[in-house]
Amino acid sequence: MIPFEYLRAGDPAEAVAAVAGRPGAAFLGGGTNLVDHMKLGVAGPDLLVDVSRLPLDRVEETAGGLRIGAAVRNSDLAAHPLVRERYPVLARALLSGASGQLRNVATTAGNLLQRTRCPYFQDVTTPCNKRVPGSGCSAAGGYTRYHAILGASEHCVATHPSDMAVAMVALDAVVAVLGPGGARTLPLAELYRLPGDAPQRDTVLEHGDLIIAVELPHLPFARRSAYRKVRDRASFSFALVSVAAALDLDGGLVRDVRLALGGVAHKPWRATRAEAELRGGPATEDAFRRAAEAELAAARPLPGNAFKVAMTRNAVVATLRALAEEGR
């Protein structure tokens, strides 16, 4: 680990100023990803600005929704009564991620901004365009079981590892950001980028931008929502494929739906094509399958992960079928 300085910020503005004023500085939340990366040599900030004790650790009720402070721990958020009642998909996604010890420490904003677990990204002895732009992609032609089938580029086929973010993207979450130029909000779905020719940038945030909260809008039918995660072992494993869904039924018809996919792309993938296909149509297994296939028409699997196309389709169908049965 290279030498660095440590500063505990007193308030968000001080934290933003400290990081914005130094190109090599980074925010430190729970540290479960960044501290690991510093040991691996993946990250080498020369100043850590600790934001984990800022007064951003509350979950507040808004008009029918919730505002989740950036420093709220994953385990606390998963256990929050209003999250469990209004957004069960989020509680389930959180509890399907990491281990108990890590959820106890990991923060909401840190979870959103965690980096890919592509083994080549984390191995500094191999080329990786995300870690060292222009060095090449070792995953193309390498081990691609956990890699993207949607939205990838020749420069990067990595996936975003978060479960929580998949649920939040499905729920139309909005991110509140404090930056050197002031405060702003943006939809979580627009926070993330596809890799294109600049895979080193996971998000649209600029240096010094600090996420201070995530807002979940009023979405009454999210009370009927679910998260299904397919993985290589039953716990403490990243998703091969995951599905976050909320379903609003009107008799046998789909009045409205929210659908997002994890483990398939460089970002949590909002399945807008499938949603459009489903709205107003019958809540049947055939319709669910057609909607999943519409979304996956754009899939471009790699040699090592062609199975994920069928796996994603089946996971979507199974998730929606279970929600539809729950509603009968």
Binding site: R8, L28, G31, A98, S99, G100, Q101, L102, V105, S235
Partner: protein, 199 residues
């Protein structure tokens, strides 16, 4: 930098700490508490699990500065009954009866119930994962309002790797400890709550 931290109920100070040190390093190398083990250093194995402000964390991923002013309980602290979580079944757990376990060994009478059950169930092989498992199991049992089901135990221990035992005896130990701690808590309730014995 200087790090002030309460460990196992005692205020402690570590001086000349480098910013890149972890809480685990401070505990083991500066404060003389080698119970938490240093294995993967990535948060994958759980060998370094300790309580930090009452919740379990991987001490290897906590930067030293982040521990400033906070309360840590390590596996060493459990044996003296210092891992207090308000409202948990362990809080009402009286000191083990020194004559009850019948197992020979140093200070077995001072061990926490989880530790005693690991010994009784033979849940220890090389022992490297044991302190982390004991702390994590302690947290599970202390925070649960009832005896956890096997699936809950497995999920709670998912972040603790053991390369020797195959986990079966570890599960035996946790089931045993959970049953004893909760039986004791129930007996305590029956004594202290009027009419509680009939509830």
């Amino acid at each position: 930098m200087r790090v002030n931290v309460h460990v196992n109920g005692e205020p402690m100070v570590a001086d000349d700490v480098w910013e890149g040190e972890s809480l685990l390093y401070v505990l083991r190398e500066r404060l003389g508490l080698p119970g938490a083990k240093n294995a993967c250093e990535q948060g994958e194995c759980g060998s370094c699990t300790v309580y930090l402000d009452g919740i379990t964390v991987c001490a290897c991923l906590v930067a030293a500065g982040q521990a400033e002013g906070r309360e840590v309980v390590t596996v060493e602290g459990l044996s003296e009954g210092r891992a207090r979580r308000r409202g948990g079944a362990h809080d009402r757990n009286p000191r083990p009866d020194p004559d009850a376990d019948g197992v020979a060994g140093p200070r077995l009478d001072r061990l926490d119930e989880v530790q005693r059950c690991f010994v009784e169930a033979g849940a220890v092989q090389c022992g490297f994962c044991t302190p982390g498992l004991v702390v994590q199991a302690h947290s599970l049992i202390a925070s649960a309002s009832r005896v956890p089901e096997d699936a809950e135990i497995r999920e709670a221990l998912a972040g603790n790797l053991c390369r020797c035992t195959g986990y079966e005896k570890i599960l035996d130990a946790v089931r045993l400890a959970a049953a004893r701690v909760h039986a004791r808590a129930a007996a305590e309730d029956a004594r202290t709550v009027p009419g509680g014995a009939d509830d």
